[in-house]
Symmetry: C2
Subunit: 325 residues, 2 copies
């Protein structure tokens, strides 16, 4: 399958690498809003300005949208679903129904398939929530994130006056995690589930006490959490906090039996050295799936809930049954 | 959906309980090879001899086959797939391709859908192996079972002369599990992955040393493992070892990045108080899925790889996207 990428940030570069690990995929073009001459990529694909994208309608099987959920994807995914089979990683949970409807309308008009909200959360975590709920109708759901870097929270710190750079880690509270796994069905507040740890580089002479207070009291981002702030040098930030690890787990606990006397724990756990590279790997697997659906004549918007698992794999049904069932 | 059960052992009773937790399912009939008058069940369903099953062709939407994989299912699933939509938990991995072909032929003849090898392994573990392989093409797979009761190994001990009863636990080796989770990609022998712990009740005056030796040297079952044998009283066995817990985990570790420099761990973990009741809960969710596929006009054999996840849930696509994506 011939892959196109729109947007060459962390996610776009991740898709470029992931394509190399999938022999049935080929990266043919990278589209950017920047001047293509300024973009240095790590493969033989063409680099083009996004204004040329319509000319590639018949030369790309799946276009992977690597923009952000805040402003890029709500506009791009419906727009390009008219011309291409598309995959996005839209992750604004509250706006998913609206985004789905927009993509569905466009994709049906164009006779294409568009899959939204692909990645690990939403994505693999959603799948595991859904499977576990279908299997254990009586139970409780828990999602923990981390230990990992939250780009949104890191950015929020960087916007504070006097801050040069920052990295924020979201960390699950071990005691809460254990209570869940022990089937104690705890009711957990935001503060009881996760803590936040910040590594901050400030301008010379900046008022550290004021910055720490501003971080800890920031509404939505930090005020509901126990937050730790470490002031470090730029060298230390670069040496020890340049990665983008993440992960987390989805847990459902539930009961069965004549008297609901038996407890069960279903846990799905991810530990990722690189959040964007792992997300990219999920995007490529779902690109394969929608390419197949498209060849079967399907059109419209899909989510991970709609895709038969076998469609993600390059192996045939026979091979899968023989080797993985 | 109207559910029928064939076979009323641990699994059949589990399905009976699971139906009560799913408001869209109703148990209408239990079929047995025994005298129906001898069977006391825990619901209002009819109890009938299996010889009457053909009369129920139009009164049952999905027949759940609760027999064993050794001799029951290879014969029953193809036979009844001609008359009913069927679900089984066939778990003889090596014979799955042959079983699939037989069920596929029958189900297509009868215009029915038959799904085989549903449960947690094969079943949910298979799904997780498949998803993880599609997402991380370069990596290693590991499956650990336990801590849990192996019925096959418990039965093998019971067949030894002088043994009255026994329970065998399969236990993953913690050191191996940690090496896998640390992305060390260990090559693990059978002995390095699991240990076996046996609780054995013997006849008065039985030769315990001989029995212990027979257990530990039993080919296929114990000789490749480090095995511990405890001789206990019947009272202790009943008090402390009457449950049928099980569980385990499927782990895939893999690499991404320009230089394969990033490690990722995908782990799926089950901790189950009752192996047959949990398996039954999976069977009901897949019964829902094949009932839907059948109403859409599909026929033939399926596995968990073929079923779009949303088909397992009683919720609509819209509800799922809103609440679980």
């Amino acid at each position: 399958m011939r892959i196109g990428i729109l947007g060459y940030g962390n996610l776009g570069r991740g898709v470029e690498n992931a394509v190399k690990q999938n022999p049935d995929a080929e990266l043919v073009a990278v589209f950017t809003r920047r001047n293509p001459a300024d973009l240095k990529i790590n493969s033989d694909a063409k680099v083009l300005n996004v204004s040329e994208i319509e000319n590639w309608k018949d030369k790309i099987d799946v276009l992977i949208l690597c923009g952000g959920s805040a402003t890029d994807l709500p506009e791009q995914t419906p727009k390009y679903a008219k011309m291409f089979n598309v995959v996005d990683s839209f992750d604004t949970h509250a706006r998913i129904p609206e985004h789905f409807a927009n993509v569905d309308k466009s994709a049906k008009e164009g006779g294409k398939v568009g899959i939204i909200s692909v990645g690990w959360d939403p994505g693999l975590f959603s799948l595991n929530r859904m499977y576990a709920n279908a299997i254990l109708p009586e139970g409780s759901d828990y999602t923990f994130w981390g230990k990992g870097v939250s780009q949104g929270h890191s950015d929020a710190i960087r916007r504070i006056d006097g801050v040069l750079d920052a990295k924020q880690y979201t960390i699950p509270v071990e005691k809460a995690l254990q209570a869940v796994k022990n089937c104690e069905n705890p009711q957990l507040s935001t503060r009881e589930k996760h803590t936040r740890e910040c590594f901050v580089v400030v301008k010379e002479g900046a008022d550290k006490a004021r910055i720490e207070k501003e971080i800890k009291e920031m509404p939505n981002y930090f005020s509901d959490y126990d937050t730790t702030v470490h002031f470090i040098s730029m060298e230390e930030l670069k040496a020890n906090h340049s990665g983008i690890p993440h992960g987390g787990c989805v847990i459902r606990t539930g009961v069965t039996g004549a008297n609901k006397e038996h407890n069960h724990v279903i846990e799905y756990n991810l530990k990722l050295d690189s959040n964007p590279e792992f997300t990219s790997s999920v995007l490529i697997a779902y690109a394969r799936a929608i390419y197949r659906l498209s060849k079967e004549g399907q059109s419209g918007a899909k989510t991970v809930f709609d895709i038969p698992p076998a469609y993600l794999s390059p192996k045939s049904g026979e091979e899968l049954r023989k080797t993985m069932l």
